[in-house]
């Protein structure tokens, strides 16, 4: 069988790649996609644990994560569209109104 540590390793690698993308990319949609990547990595971890602990709850949690990710994606993209209308730019550096 697939060892748990391998599954988790894959999960972590994907997560870190997503984090790296989040930190280093400037296009906001790309950043958003990296967030989705991170979510998926976490989902993988859940599934792995569910398999190895014999507990179906893990998979149920993934179900919820997917649903919430869908909602989040919808709202997030709507926000991006609204922002684009205002700022005419998708560069994350230009969206710094929260500056003190």
């Amino acid at each position: 069988m697939i060892p748990l540590s391998h599954v988790l390793t894959l999960s972590v690698i994907l997560f870190v790649i997503g984090a790296a993308g989040f930190v280093f990319r400037t296009n906001i949609i790309t950043v958003f996609m990296c967030i989705e990547l991170m979510l998926n990595a976490v989902n993988l971890a859940f599934i792995g644990f569910s398999r190895h602990l014999g507990n179906l709850d893990g998979q149920l949690f993934v179900f919820f994560v997917i649903v919430v990710a869908a909602a989040e994606a919808a709202v997030g993209l709507a926000i991006i569209i609204a922002l684009y209308r205002n700022r005419r730019s998708l560069n994350i550096e230009d969206l710094n109104s929260m500056k003190m």
Binding site: I92, K99, M100
Partner: protein, 647 residues
């Protein structure tokens, strides 16, 4: 009885408040009605209380009543309690009578001065504080009165506050007495540490003869510290310097506060604490010696003073020295006796001086007076009576009281012959300068300019009536204690025996004594001799050969200069204390500590640190999403590292 005491204390307080808050809108008549009325009521109730106390059954035990608990902190419990015994009776009677008369006098004297309501308000407040001081049953309450009279003294000395010399004098008085007050406070603290209580009753009861031996060191320390407070308040060496300057205040103030009452607070303190002092003979010696030295010292300065009020001020210092001699040799009753008689004739002297001042439009220099005895008959009469009293002429009050002190100085429990001789010669000096004052002011040809001479007239009855009453007292007050030498029984002493006897006997028993020496009759004779000599010299110098003083001054010019500059004491203090203090204050405390450390470093520094930190931290909130993410990642990494680290 407890009600009477409250009724005695209350009117001046109420009067002060009413006049203080509303007096500005009152007419002068209303203000003086409130002020004099309050003083009058206080006097009536004081006398009623005296009568009630005297006619109460149960003998002359102290009446103590506690009205409410004032302080309760840990072991310390101080009530607002009043203590009334024969000593208190004498003090309250003297204070209220003199105060009332001076209030009446002020109606006329302050008529044309500004701030009429303020004057009466402060005067009433002073009366309240002084009465609190003498009726208090515990040291803290007494201290309240003590500080209160100090405050009123400051307010009244600096009454003409727009005049720089007056406000300076007020400050000087307050600051110098503060030094004494520090001693007093430390003494009280030491007292509490020793006895665990601060009521008179409990403290005095705690000085049982058994323990007194071991406690002697502490008691001596307490005695000396209390006396330090007295030195400040009653203007003895070395803290007397404020009293001559205090003459900047209006003359009624000088009469009431700096002659009759506040300055006697120190004497009262020593007298009231007699159980402590009787077990600390060393402290009493200090009291007597300083009192004697001060008496002599101040008298020598008074010899050359040309300012009428200042001469009287130095005279007061000298007479206070006498009172301390009395207490210091164990003759407490004599000291209090002199306090009482002095209150009458000294305040009379000041009020008469005020009358002269008014007539001459504020002239105070005796060299510019003269020949007033025809124009101001009543003032002249009363001033003369007071002069005779203070010089100690037989038959007048001052003679009896001063004589008792001299007798005590020689043969009292702690008396020493040299104290007597110095005090007796001081009596001679006193006679000299007082008669000098009398002659220069009222006799001879007028030395003022013609305009003033024409306007000089007797003061109105508002001022002369109190003068006459005080003159009467100056005469008869001595009759309460006819000395043994004249076949009397010294009733005043006996009267205060219930208060002082235990201490006097204890001292007498424990003191070492030389042989009998001179009899009291001989003592009296010698002192009279000195006095007569003083009067004669004054007569010769100022009435007969009026060029004599100038020639004497020339011959002894060095001595004369020293005397007229008051031994340069003020200059010495200025150089020794004031200027270094000033330098330290300005260069160190102001520039360094206040401006640099406190303002710059602490106040501004704190602000700048905050602002700087804020500025620095603000950069985290860049609005930059990615840096936020990086921070989060950083946090997570660090935390994870911490958790993983093998501990």
């Amino acid at each position: 009885m407890e009600l009477l005491l409250l009724l005695m204390l209350l009117p001046p307080l109420v009067g002060a408040t009413v006049n203080g808050l509303l007096g500005r809108r009152f007419s002068q008549a209303a203000v003086s009605l409130v002020g004099c009325g309050a003083a009058g009521l206080s006097m009536v109730f004081a006398l009623l209380a005296a009568w009630t106390y005297s006619s109460s059954t149960g003998g002359p035990v102290p009446f103590i009543h506690s009205y409410f608990t004032w302080i309760e902190a840990g072991n310390l419990r101080v009530d607002y309690a009043l203590y009334y015994d024969r000593l208190t009776l004498v003090m309250t009677a003297t204070v209220t009578v003199v105060a009332f008369l001076i209030h009446l006098y002020s109606r006329g004297y302050m008529e044309r001065e500004g701030g009429y309501y303020r004057f009466f308000s402060h005067l009433n407040l002073f009366l309240f504080m002084m009465l609190t001081l003498v009726t208090a049953a515990s040291y803290p309450l007494m201290f309240v009165g003590w500080e209160g009279v100090g405050l009123c003294s400051y307010l009244l000395i600096g009454f003409y506050f727009r005049k720089k010399s007056a406000s300076d004098a007020g400050k000087k008085a307050f600051i110098v007495t503060r030094i004494g007050d520090a001693g007093f406070t430390i003494g009280v603290a030491l007292l509490f540490w020793t006895f665990g209580t601060l009521n008179f009753q409990d403290v005095f009861a705690g000085i049982t003869p058994l323990h007194a031996g071991e406690m002697q060191g502490t008691l001596t320390a307490i005695g000396i510290l209390f006396f330090l407070g007295a030195v400040g308040k009653s203007a003895q060496i070395p803290l007397y310097i404020w009293l001559p300057d205090a003459m900047e205040g209006p003359t009624p103030v000088s009469a009431l506060i700096h002659a009759a009452t506040m300055v006697t607070a120190g004497v009262y303190l020593v007298a009231r604490s007699h159980p402590i002092y009787s077990h600390a003979p060393l402290a009493l010696e200090v009291v007597a010696v300083i009192g004697c030295l001060t008496a002599f010292f101040a008298a020598t300065i008074a010899l050359t003073q040309n300012d009428l009020k200042r001469m009287l001020a130095y005279s007061t210092i000298s007479q206070l020295g006498y009172m301390f001699i009395g207490c210091g040799v164990g003759a407490f009753a004599a000291g209090i006796f002199h306090l009482m008689t002095h209150a009458f004739f000294k305040s009379l002297l000041f009020l008469a001086a005020g009358s002269v001042m008014h007539a001459l439009h504020g002239e105070l220099d005796m060299r510019r007076m003269g020949g007033l005895r025809h124009k101001m008959k009543t003032t002249f009469l009363t001033f003369s009576i007071a002069t005779l009293a203070i010089s100690g002429l037989p038959g007048l009050s001052g003679f009896f009281s001063k004589d008792e002190i001299l007798a005590g100085a020689y043969g009292g429990p702690l008396g020493r012959p040299w104290l007597y001789w110095l005090a007796a010669s001081t009596a001679g000096l006193t006679a000299f300068y007082m008669f000098r004052g009398l002659f220069m002011t009222f006799f001879g040809s007028p030395r003022m300019d013609a305009e003033t001479a024409r306007h000089a007239h007797e003061s109105g009855s508002k001022m002369t009536v109190p003068l006459l009453v005080l003159a009467l007292f100056s005469i008869i007050a001595g009759d309460v204690s006819w000395p043994k030498a004249f076949g009397g029984t010294e009733e005043f002493d006996r009267y205060l025996d219930p208060v002082f006897k235990p201490s006097e006997e204890f001292l007498r028993a424990s003191a070492h004594h030389a042989g009998p020496g001179l009899s009291s009759g001989a003592l009296m004779m010698f002192s009279l001799l000195f006095v007569a000599a003083g009067i004669l010299v004054a007569y010769w110098f100022y009435l007969k050969a009026t060029d004599r003083p100038a020639r004497m001054a020339e011959r002894f010019s060095r001595l004369y200069t020293i005397l007229i500059h008051k031994y340069y004491v003020d200059e010495l203090y200025n150089w020794l204390v004031v200027r270094p203090l000033h330098a330290v204050s300005e260069k160190v405390l102001w520039r360094r500590v206040d401006a640099q450390v406190i303002d710059g470093f602490m106040v501004n520094g704190t602000g700048e640190v905050m602002a700087g930190a804020g500025n620095f931290l603000r950069r985290i909130q860049s609005g930059n999403l990615r840096s936020y993410a990086s921070w989060i990642l950083l946090g997570a990494t660090v935390w994870l590292a911490y958790v993983l680290w093998p501990h």
